[in-house]
Subunit: 295 residues, 2 copies
């Protein structure tokens, strides 16, 4: 623990939205003594009380303006589609030189929108710690969540170098492997490795529902599933609101990616239809080879 | 261990194909004293030597006829497309009343083909232990593989009741939960909960390869993947030969199922294209609810 104010990385951090990610960040800041005080903002009072009890935040406010006014770091940890209205609410109240950051799964145009919505005296630095669980809520928060994970930080031409260095420092102290990336490239990359796989899993569960509907009564398909289906669809149990917002925010990339995926499925279907054994084996072999390159 | 021949469930078992499943069955038969002797048949001698060393089989033969001649149970554990040619090879040499069974992931028409290819003095009983790993080969075999797993046994109108009871007994002693099912229904059920998810995962890996090809040089998409992609595509690392054969054998169901899946993806794509937030949330919510019902 740091013993004097000057040793803290931040004096006062405000976390907007104290769920799994926001709560885990709070725990990290407190446990490692990276912030002198951590304030929480949220809609549900029992959740904020639990966050205090767990040590993720010191205090909470219902009005973000009150907390933001004296903070040198404000972190957005709410659904991404609420970011702009949040900063419009309190952006003009925060101190000159303060940093606004986030933990969202979407960057792209949103980063530029936030830069524009904030006063020029404030520094926005986008960050995306690639960490999470299907379980949401501060009750599942842990300061270890970010340890060993990648964290993509997305500076632009307008990003203040000192603010960037501080955000980078924060995530490195969290044990994350920090990578800098253009916000637009971030959304392409995450669209491919995270958002598309979620759509794949959502649609598979829905297809199984349709197949169940045409299966003899009394026979429950899911009773016969093994570890394969369980793993393949684990991420289908994610938050509908969060994933609605991610899909909408990364809509243009995802439309292209879903098309690409459907075209692969149609190719596989064609091989199957043609009883092309060699083609099927080659196709599966390619998938297997790429899968074996996954870290 | 049983001490006299009469206490064994089987006197001599021949396992055709001593890989992960065949080897695990051999270990189970030996460890639980369910068979007096277990013989192995395979193409690769070093593999059979390893199987003897691991205790999965007692001896091996290169000619199935020699082993089958005195066996009261012969289990097919090779790729499903080889079954018919196997039984054509040794079917006429096996003793009256002997049982032929299998451990394959496909049943359907194959069961009737096998009944027809075998002499009427022999009893075929199809079985599908729903167990496995991505790792194949006898080196990964374990007698615990079937413990707690479902095993679907697929009798037909021609199935001998005593032979059925013995096969059922075998799998119950393996710790499996045995369910009887029509061979055609088996393929519909497994098509939905296992084969379709494999095609989903194969095609996702291939789509990622295509997306990688249009990504800026030096940027490796897979470097930014998290647990979500890893889980979703775990089964994409399965054996190409085995899955080629399963897909071909269950072709008619899978063509319908892939169509159903593509239609779900197109529905999701439409919601995304229309920026229909409520529709997307509802769709993801349905997927989440069904996923939460998975055992």
């Amino acid at each position: 623990m740091a013993s004097s104010s000057s040793e803290y990385l931040f004096q006062q951090v405000t976390i907007i939205g104290v769920g799994l990610l926001g709560g885990s960040l709070g725990l990290l800041l407190k446990e490692q003594g990276l912030a002198k005080s951590v304030l929480g903002i949220g809609r549900r009072r029992p959740n904020l009380e639990l966050a205090v009890e767990l040590g993720a935040i010191d205090r909470f406010f219902s009005e973000a303006k009150e907390a933001a006014r004296d903070s040198d770091l404000i972190v957005l940890a709410t659904p991404v589609d609420t970011y702009v209205s949040h900063v419009q609410d309190w952006g003009s109240f925060i101190p000159t030189g303060a940093i606004v950051s986030d933990v969202g799964s979407v960057k792209g145009k949103l980063v530029f929108d936030l830069e524009e919505a904030l006063p020029p005296t404030v520094n926005f630095v986008g960050a995306h710690p690639i960490a999470g669980k299907e379980k949401s809520g501060v009750a599942h928060a842990t300061s270890k969540l970010f340890n060993g994970a990648r964290c993509i930080v997305t500076p632009t031409n307008h990003t203040n170098e000192k603010a960037l260095a501080k955000v980078r420092d924060l995530w490195e102290r969290a044990g994350s492997d920090v990578v800098l990336m253009d916000p637009m490239v971030h959304d392409w990359v995450l669209g491919a490795v995270s958002h598309l796989p979620h759509i794949v899993a959502f649609s598979l569960m829905q297809a199984l529902q349709e197949l169940q509907d045409v299966t003899s009564e009394g026979l429950n398909l899911l009773d016969f599933s093994g570890g394969g289906l369980r793993d393949t669809t684990r991420i289908a149990a994610s938050s509908p609101e969060m994933w609605r917002d991610i899909c909408l925010a990364n809509r243009e990339n995802l439309l292209k990616m879903v098309d690409q995926y459907i075209s692969q499925l149609q190719g596989f279907r064609q091989l199957l239809n043609d009883q092309d054994g060699a083609g099927l084996a080659k196709s599966i072999e390619q998938a297997k080879m790429l899968r074996e390159r996954l870290p």
